[in-house]
């Protein structure tokens, strides 16, 4: 009877323990709520929109701030649309006297952009907006006693909001001009916005004087000649000449509104000392606001109750087909945004915990690390990628897209051996380009996550072409409707024509030795370097790897003291100019004190002339023709081994909806939707605790204790017996 009682007790206890999930990293009510659970791999350093220029920072910032424009979430190719504007900006071309002229007129000296903002934009609640009756800021001059009670923004008893006005957008541009705020865009914008250069000098000097005295800098007292606030909802920006890419910058956080109250509020020294600044606590009008910023642990966004009316995009059937958008992604068309109430981002530095928590259902989406690739993905015989059976059983979906980025290997065109523009020098580079088997490289080192590049422009950007037309004829042949890399024999012939038959220099009789500079110095990079050597050895060329730290590597590239090196580029905006300027002669890094982005130092007068012409043209057949000619020149000169365009792969659970890869749009959280009920049910089913090891462990411990106790007793009694004897 006693034994039966024990048995029933243990059984009941086991059943009770098994009924609950022990390994949930969040409270149950949070899991059941409309909350997204995601990750970030490195803490964001800057959340000040004027300074931040990093994808891992924009993940948060773009949900909080609202620049005038945004990319349509669903449409491909990428399309700009108004975000805080009532319509797309009005563009007016002006001559030297300020009179309006046509777009094609040679008289165009300025372009005027007129922005008309919505009148229903409001900031999130924030203590900076709290004002006294005399209109002064309630928390604008915090004394020591008040500061003692403040640890986070939640410690302020009152928070208020106010309407966003055109002058807030102008204020953001003024902040950009202050050198002490370190905006990465300032030097670019100085070339375009009228008077910004002089304005920057003026406010930088003023900032230096104010900050030295411990005073705050109020930028309302200063004005940029090219930026005019017409009324509360209208802003005009005048730029030099024509620069159609200017509108793309208007979709970035640099141009999001900054309320002067927040700027002055955060300049209080006492707050800065507590890590409360515009760099850590953004103030925006977007769909979310930052509720918690623990950069070393967790970042939490909450729905902004003051967010204006915005609806999920609607596409016609034709647009949906052209953009590759399925019907399920259009189910929410016309519904009010945002869908998710809260987003919790946890810091996960290691891939193993991240991946396992995703499999347990505690993260709604995940990338695929190389360790988890085989578990998640099956490669078909034709190279097509599909989900593994395990992923399918869990209802996981794969979202993939080719990114608007390129990884390439550059020849330093200033180098006497691999650089230069003679026929022989071109042929040497062409031979090396053929010998670099990019298909093998992508397969071995990137798990097929890439597309071999045919030129600098990646898919999705105007100027990229598929098929034979888009094939690089220097490296590939078009055979039976497919791209086929030219044979090694063809490469060897080019090498012989270049004066290096079999890799031996005709001039010196010695084997050609080339130097490849890299920062890949770890043991994991050895295989990659061996592969690189092998590609050159196929031609009889000896490749010497010069491994160095990142600082020295950058210095060598800036000074042109390299021969071969690998580099990459991510698009700032979806325009071919943003890729072709990497080969524009005036951007050569050695000629620009290291500031240029043409790291190969490629200079071709014909290419440069075409670039200058194409740069300011709208997308049209004429522009495409010029781009095709430019690509032909670049392919022939081969300043880069064109490398590959990387493919992004993400896995999402079945309960996570409306996930569309859009490399240009960063403010995508508002479109996404969660089914928390389904998530909770799956988590409960997948995470029942396994109890038998616990019971076995308990038994093992009991046995050990019993054994030790018995042994000790035996030993003690043995001694006594001996004494007795």
């Amino acid at each position: 009877m006693q034994q039966a009682k024990w048995f029933v007790t243990i059984l009941l206890l086991t059943m009770t323990l098994q009924a609950t999930v022990w390994n949930a990293p969040y409270p149950e009510e949070e899991i059941r709520s409309n909350t997204l659970f995601s990750v970030f791999s490195s803490p964001p350093k800057h959340l000040d929109p004027v300074r931040s220029y990093n994808a891992n920072e924009w993940t948060f910032l773009s949900q909080i701030y609202e620049p005038p424009l945004q990319y349509n979430y669903l449409k491909k190719p990428y399309v700009l649309e108004p975000l805080t504007l009532t319509q797309m900006p009005q563009v007016i071309y002006l001559d030297e006297n300020g009179s309006e002229v046509g777009i094609e007129s040679p008289e165009v000296k300025f372009t005027l952009y007129r922005f008309r903002f919505r009148d229903d934009l409001f900031y999130q609640e924030h203590p900076a907006f709290v004002k006294r009756r005399d209109a002064t800021l309630r928390y604008g001059n915090l004394n020591d006693d008040e500061l003692k009670k403040i640890h986070t923004l939640h410690d302020f008893p009152k928070q208020e909001s106010r309407r966003v006005t055109a002058s807030d957008y102008a204020y953001a541009i003024k902040r950009m001009a202050v050198r002490q705020y370190h905006s990465p865009l300032l030097d670019t914008m100085m070339q375009y916005i009228v008077g910004l250069r002089e304005f920057s000098k003026e406010v930088t000097k003023a900032a230096k004087e104010h900050f030295a005295k411990g005073e705050r800098l109020d930028l309302r007292e200063f004005n940029i000649p090219g930026v005019k606030v017409v009324d509360e909802t209208t802003l005009e920006i005048r730029i030099y000449g024509k620069y159609p890419q200017f509108l793309y910058w208007m979709a970035m956080n640099f141009f999001a509104p900054i309320p002067w109250e927040a700027d002055l509020f955060y300049q209080q020294k006492g707050l800065k000392q507590k890590n409360i600044s515009l760099d850590t606590q953004p103030v925006g009008s977007g769909p979310y606001y930052l509720a918690e910023n623990s950069p070393n642990r967790r970042i939490r966004l909450l729905k902004n109750p003051n967010f204006h009316l915005e609806r999920y995009p609607t596409l016609s059937l034709q647009e949906a087909n052209a953009s590759g958008i399925s019907r399920s992604l259009l189910q929410d068309s016309g519904k009010r945004l945002p869908f998710i109430d809260e987003a919790v981002y946890s810091l996960e530095k290691e891939s193993i915990p991240l991946w396992n928590k995703f499999l347990q259902g505690y993260y709604d989406a995940s990338g695929i690390s190389s360790e988890a690739f085989d578990q998640a993905v099956q490669i078909g015989s034709g190279g097509s990628m599909g989900l593994s059976d395990m992923m399918k059983q869990k209802g996981i979906r794969m979202v993939s897209s080719v990114e608007p980025s390129i990884f390439y290997m550059a020849f330093n065109m200033e180098d006497p051996v691999v650089g230069g523009y003679t026929e022989k020098q071109k042929k040497l580079r062409q031979a090396i380009s053929i010998a670099q088997d990019q298909e093998e490289y992508i397969s071995i080192f990137f798990n097929e996550r890439g597309v071999p590049a045919q030129g600098p422009i990646p898919p999705g950007i105007f100027g990229y072409e598929e098929g034979k037309k888009g094939t690089n004829p220097v490296v590939y042949d078009w055979i039976d409707g497919k791209r086929v890399r030219k044979s090694l024999e063809a490469a060897k012939k080019l090498l012989a024509d270049a004066g290096y038959p079999g890799g031996i220099s005709e001039k010196t009789g010695k084997r050609l030795k080339l130097y490849y500079d890299t920062t890949a110095t770890g043991p994991d990079d050895r295989a990659l370097m061996d592969w690189r050597r092998k590609q050159f050895a196929k031609l009889g060329i000896e490749l010497v790897i010069r491994a160095t730290d990142y600082n020295r590597f950058q210095e060598k590239v800036r000074k042109g003291k390299v021969q071969l090196f690998s580099w990459g580029w991510n698009a700032d905006y979806p325009d071919p100019e943003n890729f072709l300027f990497l080969l524009y002669g005036k951007n050569a890094v050695v000629d620009t004190d290291g500031a240029g982005i043409n790291s190969a130092n490629y200079k071709n007068l014909e290419f440069d002339a075409l670039f200058a012409k194409m740069q300011t043209m709208p997308n049209s057949p004429q522009r495409l023709a010029i781009i095709e000619k430019m690509l032909q020149i670049a392919r022939e000169d081969a300043p880069w081994v064109w490398g590959f365009y990387p493919k992004s792969l993400a896995l999402v659970h079945g309960w996570f909806k409306n996930v569309v890869p859009n490399a240009m749009a960063n403010n995508t959280l508002k479109y996404k939707r969660i089914d928390p009920v389904q998530r909770y049910e799956k988590q409960q089913a997948w995470n029942r605790p396994v109890l038998w090891p616990l019971l076995m462990l308990a038994v093992a411990v009991l046995l050990l204790v019993w054994g030790v106790r018995s042994a000790y007793r035996r030993r003690q009694s043995r001694v006594i017996r001996k004494g007795e004897a």
């Binding site: 390994n23 220029y53 300032l186 760099d279 193993i352 600082n551 290291g594």
Partner: protein
């Protein structure tokens, strides 16, 4: 004792100056202020104007040790080394190169580091001593020899293996605890269990072997024989006589590490998502954030010196023959 402590604190000053000097020299041998500016600005195109503005704001436009543009004492005082070192000695760590208050960050990260390190330290100490005493009790037996073999095996395996194996077994397969995460309140206990258990287990081999050898040295001493002759049980002999006399060498190794518990563990915190100090210095080195690097090296040195002083003081508590 007070005089001794004051003397030791004065001795510490030249040591800290020396450590600081070496930190400055090593860091700037590898990174130039221009490199640091590029790393901090993080822009695709970093112009000379941007670099100059950043250096001026952070004071890195000043020479490192000697300012040839000034004269007299200023040629030494108006330098990066003197400006930054003086603040350190006042425990004013200032702002990081990414503009965060370093003291605030250290304060915020110390708690989570201690939440793992302190229980690990205490449980490991008690467990290791208890097991060592148990093995001494059964010295020369099969249990003792088997335990020593197991201890060597535990020591021979990398700590990283225990972390990954622990996460796979207890979190992934058996679903007992969360794989990673942290909460500062009692609800966060479940996040701490596994890293603490792994920390205790990983240190078991070396700890038990070390303490066992200390206790074995004591077990054959005359005073132990006398205790046995008085008719005390073996357990009473071990706990009342062997353990207190073995504490002195244990204290030498243990007390010195107590202050450094604040500094956390790099791998443990990284794998378990603990927002502690473990990776703070390494992240700063990678980000070329000199302000954090020098602050953490300085703090580490101070804590080490404090540990040594505490060790000396603890001797007087356990051994009446020692006076300071």
């Amino acid at each position: 004792m007070l005089a001794y402590i004051i003397k030791r604190i004065f001795y510490a000053i030249p040591i800290l100056i020396g450590v600081n000097l070496i930190t400055f020299m090593l860091f700037f041998m590898v990174n130039t202020p221009d490199d640091m500016a590029r790393a901090q600005l993080g822009a695709k195109q970093t112009t000379p104007a941007m670099i100059a503005a950043w250096k001026a704001e952070k004071g890195y436009d000043k020479p490192l040790f000697y300012n040839a543009e000034t004269s007299g004492i200023e040629s030494v005082t108006d330098t990066l080394f003197v400006n930054e070192s003086l603040k350190l000695f006042l425990f004013d760590f200032g702002l990081s190169d990414a503009n965060r208050n370093i003291a605030e960050d250290i304060k915020a990260r110390m708690g989570p580091s201690l939440a793992i390190a302190l229980p690990t330290f205490l449980i490991a100490l008690v467990t290791n001593i208890s097991l060592a005493l148990l093995l001494v009790l059964f010295r020369g037996s099969v249990l003792d020899m088997s335990a020593m073999v197991v201890a060597v095996m535990i020591m021979s395996v990398s700590g990283l293996f225990y972390i990954i194996a622990g996460q796979v077994l207890f979190s992934k397969l058996w679903h007992w605890v969360p794989i990673s995460g942290y909460e500062s309140d009692w609800a966060g206990m479940k996040f701490v269990l596994l890293p603490v258990a792994i920390g205790v287990f990983a240190g078991l081999g070396s700890g038990v072997r070390w303490y066992r050898s200390i206790f074995l040295e004591q077990i054959n001493q005359d005073y132990v024989r006398t205790a046995r002759a008085k008719g005390l049980s073996e357990i009473a002999v071990l706990f009342r006589h062997v353990l207190p006399n073995g504490m002195l060498p244990i204290l030498t190794g243990v007390v010195v590490i107590i202050p450094s518990l604040f500094m956390g563990s790099l791998i443990m915190e990284s794998f378990f998502g603990i927002p502690g100090l473990g990776s703070y210095t390494i992240d700063a080195i990678n980000a070329q954030d000199f302000a954090i690097v020098k602050a953490m090296v300085f703090l580490g040195s101070v804590l080490y010196i404090v540990g040594l002083i505490l060790t000396d003081i603890s001797y007087t508590l356990f051994d009446p023959r020692v006076t300071l």
